[in-house]
């Protein structure tokens, strides 16, 4: 099924990540099973699926925070021929106990980049937080913290930006602010791979959608096809708002 559906992901964009028969087993539990994927440059790739389907695990694996038990992940070079740089924003990013500006400075230093005032201001500007530069990061609202986490991730100047439900529990205004940043980042050539439960958000942002359940890829297709002509019963039920177990 997976191979058949993947063939529908027609794209002329070059591939940026190839996953070959990825499996991940921890404590006798299969978290990912037989994942074969070709992720291409272009608009954001959306990961969807019920809780525990493997979205976060897949993102962590793509970030290199965990290693697969079997299979291999191959990152193709960036368009400019330089090595791939990855960054991730977690669902609940941890703010360092210092100001917003100092959080960005820390990320810049960790990425071995200049953490001068201009670089910090530029990144905070990108996420609309320059006015809050001197505010303690933990005092920021949930949406502001997500945007600050995005600024920290962008400090790495990533080719691939992995986002784990970045707008979960945000109000519409904050969600829009985060989505606008994601759109701008993607428009600038960064490959965004994002997990979300929000079908509306997936429609607004997604170029293609990967639907996971129980650690397996159930369907991978272009977003338009995914939402209008789902190929599997699981996805049809999911889109209809039914529980997918």
């Amino acid at each position: 099924m997976q191979d058949r559906v993947s063939e529908r992901t027609v794209s002329r964009n070059p591939s940026i990540i190839t996953l070959e028969k990825i499996g991940l087993r921890i404590d006798a539990t299969d978290l990912l099973v037989g994942i074969d994927l070709e992720i291409r440059n272009g608009p954001p790739t959306i990961l969807m699926g019920p809780n525990g389907s493997g979205k976060t695990t897949l993102l962590r694996l793509l970030m290199g925070l965990i290693e697969p038990s079997v299979g291999r992940v191959h990152f193709h070079g960036a368009a400019n021929g330089l090595p791939i740089r990855r960054a991730i924003v977690f669902q609940k990013p941890v703010m360092l106990r210092r100001t917003a500006a100092a959080n960005v400075a820390f990320a810049l230093a960790a990425a071995h980049r200049s953490s001068d005032a201009a670089s910090i201001v530029r990144l905070l500007d990108q996420v609309g937080l320059s006015a809050l530069a001197d505010r303690p990061a933990r005092k920021l609202s949930g949406g502001e913290q997500q945007r600050l986490a995005l600024a920290r991730a962008l400090a790495r100047e990533p080719n691939i930006l992995l986002l784990d439900e970045p707008t979960a529990s945000l109000d519409p205004a904050q969600t829009k602010a985060v989505e606008d940043i994601i759109t701008r980042v993607a428009d600038n050539g960064v490959k965004v791979i994002m997990a979300t439960h929000d079908i509306g958000e997936a429609k607004r942002l997604g170029g293609d959608v990967i639907f996971l359940n129980k650690g397996r890829v159930i369907e991978h297709s272009l977003a338009q096809r995914f939402f209008t002509q789902p190929a599997t019963a699981d996805v049809r039920r999911f889109l209809a708002g039914e529980l997918v177990l």
Partner: protein, 229 residues
């Protein structure tokens, strides 16, 4: 009567009493500084790294929190005595020997409590730091900085333990009047001599110092929660 005399010594700025207080503070602050330089990074290192003997080291450091001061004093006495391995340094019966004794007593306290605080924070930060590729040294520095307000409390606990210590400093310092006599040893000596006002005066000052430092730490923590997040 004694309480009144003790207060009068304090309020009149008795020179002998305040000389003892100054030396006590100097020795204890130096010991806390030395123990911090050892204990903070050691605790942080153990918290963020995994190595084969890690559990055994944690147990050892935790056990060392309960080191008997007189045993530590005796060990340092033997090491620093003229026939000991470091006898040539001539440190026995000096404030430096007292600093060493106090530092050895409180370094395990600072290391063990730091390890616990940093490990809790590390669990929270691990994924972020892993994603940012933060190196070991930067990781330790960042965690120590972000735990700074909790660590102040730990340093105060160490300071309090050192300030209240009598057995080890008595053995390695010798309680020499005007040279190695500190508050606790003076209290012990003057009590045995029946000079209760001086002993009480020093006792009051010791308690006030500990209370003031803890009030400062509490205020700092409250301020940090409001301002630093």
């Amino acid at each position: 009567m004694d309480e009144g005399s003790a207060l009068s010594l304090i309020l009149n700025g008795d020179a002998a009493l305040f000389a003892v207080v100054r030396l006590s503070l100097f020795v204890t602050l130096c010991a806390t500084l030395v123990a911090s330089v050892i204990g903070l990074p050691l605790g942080a290192l153990i918290a963020v790294t995994r190595f084969p003997a890690r559990d055994a080291l944690i147990v050892l450091i935790n056990a060392m929190m309960g080191l008997p001061p007189v045993v530590v004093g005796l060990a340092i006495f033997l090491i620093l005595s003229r026939s000991g391995p470091l006898g040539g340094l001539g440190l026995l019966f000096t404030p430096q020997a007292m600093i060493i004794a106090q530092a050895i007593l409180i370094a395990p306290i600072i290391a063990a409590l730091t390890r616990q605080v940093i490990e809790d924070l590390w669990i929270e930060y691990r994924d972020e730091f892993g994603a940012m590729n933060v190196g070991l040294s930067a990781r330790m520095k960042a965690l120590l900085w972000d735990a700074r307000f909790a660590l102040v409390t730990i340093l105060l606990a160490g300071f309090g333990r050192a300030a209240a210590e009598v057995g080890a400093v008595m053995i390695v310092g010798g309680n020499i009047d005007g040279y190695t006599r500190v508050m606790t040893t003076t209290i012990a000596l003057e009590t045995s001599k029946g000079n209760i006002p001086l002993a009480l005066g020093l006792g009051i000052i010791l308690i006030v110092i500990i209370l003031a430092l803890n009030a400062l730490a509490w205020g700092l923590r409250q301020w940090s929660e409001r301002h630093a997040g």
